[in-house]
């Protein structure tokens, strides 16, 4: 049991290292180099050389990688090329905003989706399930920017209840924060709920066709208990996995949603940096997003494993 978790954590650390190398290489293969790009086409040779020295670009790549990595571990993310401010300062506030967006979305979407999926599975094959399935399939295949645009059109333009753009400053009070969050959260909740509900339905509906469910029916177990106990205890592992994967998916959804609503989050920062080719910022944001994603997947795996009595037995066997 413990050995499994340890193994997975070690794997994840190796994976994170690989990711950091990839992110670093990704930014290194830029045609021309950072100094050239930062100064633009009309910079003089001397200026470029000076900046190269300043940025330490004359050192070999692996040395720069190591010092970058060590810096990150110490909380030093380098300096932005465009704004000349430390990346860490730029990150801190944005990170909080994006975290808030993801957290609120998760808290709303997960219970909603699980209940919806469960209800669909119980009525599998009925008209209600058929229509709900089509709606959910449709929503999960719809791009976030359509849902976001429609939400703006409805709530900001037609009804004028909410701002189309999410103003959020460090000192915002609760009501302003809530107003700023409402549309982005709504958009993400719709997409995430649709996806989780769809997979929940598939898992539960599949479990309900298993022989042990038929056995429970023939034992006189009421259907509430069959779904709520017999099916659900078998679904917890896979469901935990799906929920974690979808929270990881939020990483991608957040990028688009922050752009629609001009939400001051990490993704907005990253996109601006990509357009400006501000590589230290791109590297930092990419690393944070990738790490979140990888760690969510790790959590999903561990949850699924903890919940499987068979894997406990397997772990015991391995010890022997």
């Amino acid at each position: 049991m413990l050995s499994f978790i340890l193994k997975r954590v070690l794997q994840t650390i190796v994976l994170l290292l690989a990711v950091s190398i990839l992110v670093f290489i990704g930014c290194e293969i830029l045609p021309g180099d950072v100094a050239q790009v930062a100064l633009g086409q009309f910079a003089t040779e001397d200026n470029v050389r000076a900046l190269r020295l300043e940025l330490g670009l004359d050192r070999p790549a692996y040395e720069r990688y190591l010092s970058w990595l060590v810096g990150i571990l110490q909380g030093d993310w380098g300096q932005s090329i465009t704004t000349k401010t430390p990346v860490a300062t730029m990150l801190s506030e944005r990170l909080w905003n994006t975290g808030l967006l993801a957290l609120v979305t998760t808290v709303v979407a997960v219970p909603l989706a699980l209940v919806l999926g469960l209800l669909m599975a119980v009525g599998a094959g009925r008209t209600w399930d058929r229509s709900a399935s089509i709606v959910v399939l449709g929503l999960s295949a719809t791009p976030e920017f359509l849902i976001g645009s429609l939400a703006v059109l409805l709530f900001a333009v037609q009804l004028r209840w909410l701002p189309a753009v999410a103003y959020l400053s460090p000192g915002s009070g609760f009501s302003q924060t809530a107003r700023a969050l409402f549309l982005p959260v709504l958009t993400l909740v719709i997409v995430v709920t649709a996806q989780i509900a769809r997979m929940t339905r598939a898992i539960i509906a599949n479990l309900l066709t298993q022989p042990f469910v038929e056995m429970a029916v023939l034992k006189g177990v009421p259907s509430r208990r069959i779904v709520g106990v017999h099916a659900l205890i078998n679904a917890v592992g896979p469901l935990a996995n799906i929920v974690a994967l979808n929270i990881a998916y939020l990483v991608s959804g957040v990028v688009v949603v922050e752009t629609i609503f001009a939400y001051p989050g990490l993704a907005g920062l990253m996109i601006n940096a990509v357009q400006a080719r501000d590589l230290p910022v791109v590297q930092a944001c990419a690393l944070i997003f990738c790490a979140t994603y990888v760690i969510m997947i790790l959590v999903a795996d561990i949850l699924a494993h903890l919940y499987d009595p068979r894997s406990n037995a397997q772990a015991a066997m391995e010890k022997l």
Partner: protein, 278 residues
């Protein structure tokens, strides 16, 4: 009970026809686009931006006053061709490597699987952003990017399908006869995996459309003057505050195409289930 089954069957037929219709229209528009546009996509048809829909300018005009319908038709070809090429490449790469890994096992499998795992453990859009930051955005970069990113997912599915079959006795029979890997792959395995892989192709293409549109929406996809649907959404997003539907139409086009592809696969899967049940 009977009624439920009948309703279900009617429901299936309806969504199936819907998806076939949409996919057919998309294909026709992509092929005959240049001949059916009402206006030149670069021509200014109204004086002010975000002109209201009117006769001849059925969907109104865009942020520069160009005919939105013509731009939408023009973008269909870019969107679909790029997604199609990326999906074909992803499948060529993923299917071959996946079946090979399943059949050969050993270090070949281990190496390719690890690489696929690495790609799958990264958020696609972030990978896209980093690559675009590094290489700039061109049609080639974006198509190759989507192909590689989705090849990892295809690889996983092809490998899983393949390994299920490799354990089957009829493959052992062929091996014990001394058949070569080529024959086993094409004659024994391929007929079994063709259908699920085709289904995956449709789903994967809808993913590719969404992925590329998202990149374009972020301003990091294909660059003007070329415009795909995602790019059209981005260009016209500013009109939203004024109540213009200009960004909604291209976004709808993306959603409808993606939903049609998903419904198609869903229906085919369901029909197969029913056939098996009978």
């Amino acid at each position: 009970m009977l009624n439920v089954a009948a309703v279900q069957r009617r429901g299936i037929r309806l969504t199936l026809w819907f998806s076939i219709l949409i996919i057919g229209i998309c294909a026709l528009v992509a092929i005959f686009g240049p001949w059916i546009v009402p206006h030149d996509p670069t021509e200014f048809v109204t004086d002010e931006p975000f002109g209201r829909p009117q006769v001849g300018i059925w969907l109104g005009s865009d942020y520069l006053g160009r005919d939105l319908l013509s731009r939408l038709i023009d973008g269909t070809r870019t969107t679909l061709v790029m997604a199609l090429v990326a999906t074909v490449l992803a499948h060529l790469l993923g299917d071959c490597l996946g079946l090979l890994a399943a059949l050969r096992g050993g270090w070949v499998d281990a190496v390719i699987s690890r690489i696929a795992d690495l790609i799958l453990s990264l958020p696609k859009i972030i990978v896209g952003l980093v690559i675009v930051a590094a290489l700039g955005s061109s049609v080639l970069v974006i198509v190759m990017l989507a192909a590689v990113v989705y090849a990892a997912g295809v690889f996983r599915i092809a490998r899983a399908l393949g390994s299920d079959l490799v354990g089957m006795d009829f493959i052992k029979v062929a091996k014990s006869r001394g058949e070569g890997p080529g024959w086993i792959l094409f004659s024994e395995i391929f007929p079994h995996v063709a259908q699920p892989l085709a289904a995956d192709f449709a789903i994967r293409m809808s993913f590719a459309i969404l992925f590329m549109s998202s990149l374009s929406f972020l301003g990091l996809g294909v660059q003007p003057p070329l415009a795909d649907w995602g790019g059209l959404v981005r260009e016209n997003l500013g009109g939203l505050a004024g109540g213009s539907l200009a960004p909604i139409f291209p976004a709808m086009a993306i959603a409808v195409t993606s939903i049609a592809l998903n419904l198609l696969v869903d229906n085919i899967g369901e029909q197969q289930l029913q056939k098996k049940g009978a």
